[in-house]
Symmetry: C2
Subunit: 200 residues, 2 copies
Amino acid sequence: MMSKGEETKERILYQAAALFNTQGYAGASISDIMRVTGLKKGGIYNHFQSKDELALQAFDYAIELIKQRYRDALKNKRHASERLQAIISVFGANVENPAVEGGCPLLNTAVESDDTHPMLRHRVQTAMNSLRDMIRRVIQKGMARGEIRPEINADEVATVMISLLEGAVMMSKLYDDSIHLERAIKYLNNYIQVELEMSS
Amino acid sequence: MMSKGEETKERILYQAAALFNTQGYAGASISDIMRVTGLKKGGIYNHFQSKDELALQAFDYAIELIKQRYRDALKNKRHASERLQAIISVFGANVENPAVEGGCPLLNTAVESDDTHPMLRHRVQTAMNSLRDMIRRVIQKGMARGEIRPEINADEVATVMISLLEGAVMMSKLYDDSIHLERAIKYLNNYIQVELEMSS
């Protein structure tokens, strides 16, 4: 059971994560956070020392929601190709049914923080590292099981997959048209079959 | 010859474009604009009615600088594959030698404006449309000249190229490591050769 204080803290994190993910960290003021949470300033600072601390924890909270989606999507998927397609399908939800309102927090926070906010940028690097690791491990295990071609460079594949999907999320959000993300997914699913899978 | 007023206006646009492209539109205040331009508030509002008007014009100014790079890169390139590679090479400069400090204004402004700033978002859509048009035209002309396979969907190729490159700019900026952009460029140059070019 969560205490009332823990419940309030989690609710602030969830609402702040959505706010930051739509308006940006610089674009969301403490008044905006008060508005979406319905709390007074003291009620927020009771749980977080500063807007920056809330920003860092809200980002981590958003990433946890996405990791849960990966765990759900990967459940019962054994073959490396199926597992890669499951990862891609989680990205596919970023426009129509995002884990956090506003699209992909990795993309949004990377673009905002890279020149301005070293601590936040460091969190994004950590989250991006774990996404790259997940893709690499799926590929390496697939190689060991004879499902993926042994000459593949797993980290290069991770770069191509993540870049194409994040760029397509940007385009689909820009036009409010899922076609770009759909094209990226179709392209990658074909790429997995043609370029990565061991021919049977 | 530009008048002194026109020169001042252009200098403000150039400096504001770099400021917005690094700090974001919400993250850059009028005081920041005063600091980078060395002008007082009145000196800025003398040329632009509001921060929003400056933002829109500074974005257009940044896009003009990039269009000039495309014109330079495409000069004397005739074959469709060469022309596509020239477009890709302009993207390649986004990390080490961007036209505007802070990386790609299309990516940065798309991500910031999609949920927050309809007028700015509309400018980004227009700029993205002209990038997509440029790629489509190169491909269609290449088909007419027998350089590109006739079954290619030019708009799908534009989505894949732009998404992969913009996503890779995001990753390379996040890590301050050009490897992701280099991988995307290598991948696309190979893709052009293997998937798009008519085999000779």
